[in-house]
């Protein structure tokens, strides 16, 4: 029997680890072959555009110039963005849009989920109706709401005037002060069913026995909600809020179709602004720099999302 010294033993183990890894890969060679096409496609449609966007963000692309004749300007695009008042306006719009839409849609969805969690006649029909905004196309919803808000033919204006609450129909989406809240209402209307479905699923997992224990312990309905139901739904709430936040941060259809960012940038959010810069004004370089910044923000949101998900697993799957 050979006696190995500590060092030799460590060396041997390292060697075997290395060859073990290669052996492992080799033994799965068929699996790698199967995923290879997918990896190639991903590289072409995701990795290359990301690289090209980052590259473009360091160039100036004046309209009228061929894209291949772009002028390298270093970080100029970034500094120009940060100095521009429009950037700050669009950023604040995006923050208001994202936070307000996310939180209100979540609270509203949660409230509906709690209401629908009790058994009552007509629950199924009500649930089906409440899901409609989420399943219809965002484009259709945008046009419907455009008409609802319309200052001449809109139903809201007509009702307000009819009730004597306003002299003439308000200009919901043509006024700088009301356009963003009006769009947020549409967005919440479209999104709260998603929060509702998520929270309804979460509510099914609250153990009945815990609620009964709390009842025996003397907790009233509100205390049972605070001490049992809500703590149990903390993780599913986090995931729902993060998913909503990411979706809202990236929304495009509703603001673009309803207002196109106007009037005077009052309803521009990042995505619509980037789209307008790139495809409206052909300012590819600046639009790319915007995209890179947006990419970094969304990636950090994604990090929290993944962390929230893995947190779930750590707690024995108690969603």
């Amino acid at each position: 029997m050979t006696i190995l010294t500590g060092k030799a033993e460590a060396h041997r183990r390292l060697q075997s680890d290395k060859s073990g890894m290669l052996r492992k890969i080799w033994s799965h060679r068929a699996d790698y072959a199967y995923v290879l096409p997918a990896i190639v496609v991903m590289l072409i449609v995701i990795a290359y555009p990301v690289y090209y966007t980052i590259e473009l963000s360091f160039f100036n692309t004046p309209p009228g110039l061929q894209l291949r004749d772009k002028i390298f300007t270093g970080l100029d695009n970034y500094t120009a963005i940060l100095k521009s008042p429009v950037f700050w306006k669009v950023t604040s719009n995006t923050l208001i849009w994202t936070l307000a839409s996310t939180l209100i849609a979540f609270v509203l969805g949660f409230a509906c989920a709690l209401a629908l969690h009790r058994d009552f006649a007509g629950r199924g029909i009500l649930r089906a109706i409440l899901i409609i905004p989420w399943v219809i196309s965002a484009v259709a919803a945008s046009y419907i709401w455009k008409w609802i808000y319309h200052s001449d033919f809109g139903i809201i204006g007509a009702v307000l005037v009819g009730l004597g609450l306003a002299d003439r129909p308000p200009n919901f989406i043509d006024s700088v002060s009301t356009v963003l809240p009006s769009l947020i209402v549409v967005n919440i209307w479209r999104e709260f069913p998603f929060a509702m479905i998520m929270m309804m699923a979460g509510l099914q997992t609250v153990p009945d026995q815990l609620l009964r224990a709390a009842k025996v312990d003397g907790a009233n309905a509100w205390q049972r909600f605070c001490h049992v139901t809500f703590p149990h739904l903390r993780n599913v709430s986090t995931v729902t809020i993060l998913l909503l936040a990411v979706a809202n941060f990236n929304s495009f259809i509703i603001p673009w179709i309803m207002t196109g960012g106007g009037p005077s940038n009052a309803s521009h959010i990042w995505i619509t602004h980037i789209y307008e810069l790139a495809f409206g004004r052909q300012r590819w370089g600046v639009a790319s720099a915007y995209s890179v910044l947006l990419f970094m923000i969304v990636m950090s949101l994604g990090y929290f999302y993944v962390r929230a998900l893995s947190g779930n697993e750590r707690k024995d799957g108690s969603v």
Binding site: A213, A214, K215, D217, A219, H227, P231, K315
Partner: protein, 365 residues
């Protein structure tokens, strides 16, 4: 502590009667086990006492109050659940403090009571832990503690040991028994495990199909089961029940089998059979009251060994008699092989006889 009285308790779900006219009294400081197979109505009965589900009719008295319409929190009860039902986000300390906080007790008093309960249940060092960091046994002890801090009139326990492994169950069984002895607590304990009921309870209420079958001390239930269900449910291995036919031969009362053999009855047993309204009689015998012989002796019945199960202290032999499987226990020193011819001798003094139609135990008078 207080006594509990259930009077003609009924719970129906649509046309299904989950609890059917159950009446029983639990004395002050008594440990009563509600026992029966799944779906027998025992847990429903407990939930009715707790106030977690409304009763259909009848009365529930705790102490001197009729509590039919009171909320669980106003019934002065504490409950221990099968899955412990600890609040997962709260530490052990906060779990124990929760029922006291809900009663708006002063902070110092809560602290004193929590620490006292932790001391009694020997879990002071666990107070800062979260439930998921505890073993099953520890979690169940916390659940007991949470019931204890309330200082309730009645403890309701819903299969508290079912989620524990066999070894821990035996240990917690004695802990709960000790808990009862020390506190002189009134306890209503639901279990499907007749062994738990027999070993722990002062009295056991055997339920089946929503009906209370028998309510008596474990010894009485074991020795004098009122019907075939109780006879087969209580005791392990279960009592063997052999369907036979009563007849007279040479002026003597006998039970005959379709297999051709017959068993002559003692005068006492003959008297019982004479009172029966039917000729169909079921003979019941516990494994320890049947003697196994390797050769024919007077009064013995021939049979064939079916399986042989040595357990160390005793060896269980199973054999078919009149189509029914019969359990016999014997010292491990006697060797029997499967399919071997054996002879069984019943102890007439400790034999049970049941009416084959009503399934009720036959009585001599």
């Amino acid at each position: 502590m207080a006594h509990v009285v259930l009077k003609d308790l009924v719970k129906t779900y649509g046309s299904f009667k989950a609890v059917n006219n159950v009446s029983l009294t639990v004395n002050d400081g008594e440990f009563v086990a509600l026992v029966g197979p799944s779906g027998c109505g025992k847990t429903t009965t407990l939930n009715l006492v707790a106030g977690l589900i409304p009763i259909t009719s009848g009365d529930i008295v705790i102490g001197d109050r009729v509590v039919n319409d009171l909320d669980p929190k106003d019934r002065d009860i504490a409950m221990v659940f099968q899955n412990y039902a600890l609040y997962p986000q709260k530490s052990v300390y906060k779990n124990l403090a929760f029922p006291l906080q809900m009663r708006r007790l002063p902070k110092e008093e809560i602290d004193r009571k929590v620490r006292e309960a932790a001391r009694v249940l020997d879990m002071t060092e666990l107070l800062e832990r979260k439930p998921r960091e505890l073993s099953g046994g520890q979690q169940q002890r916390v659940a007991l503690g949470r019931a204890l801090v309330r200082d309730p009139s009645v403890f309701l326990m819903d299969e508290p040991l079912s989620n524990l492994d066999a070894k821990l169950r035996v240990q917690m069984r004695s802990e709960i028994k000790r808990f009862h002895q020390d506190l002189k607590a009134t306890i209503i304990y639901v279990t499907h495990d007749q062994l738990e009921a027999v070993t722990m309870a002062d009295r056991m209420a055997v339920m089946n199909g929503g009906y209370l079958q028998q309510y008596d001390s474990p010894a009485q239930v074991f020795a004098h089961p009122v019907n075939m269900f109780v006879a087969s449910f209580v005791g392990s291995p279960a009592m063997s029940l052999v369907p036979l036919e009563a007849s007279t031969a040479n002026g003597k009362s006998v039970l005959t089998s379709a297999e051709g053999w017959s068993l002559e009855l003692s005068p006492h047993n003959a008297q019982k059979v004479a009172k029966a309204k039917t000729r169909k009689i079921v003979l019941g015998a516990r494994h320890s009251t049947i003697k196994l012989h390797k050769s024919a002796v007077p009064g013995s019945i021939p049979a064939k060994a079916y399986t042989v199960e040595p357990t160390g202290d005793v060896t269980f032999v199973q054999a078919f008699l009149s189509g029914a499987l019969v359990n016999i226990s014997m010292p491990p020193t006697i060797a029997v092989a499967p399919d071997e011819q054996i002879w069984l001798e019943f102890d007439q003094e400790r034999m049970h006889l049941f009416d084959g139609e009503t399934e009720m135990a036959l009585k001599a008078h």
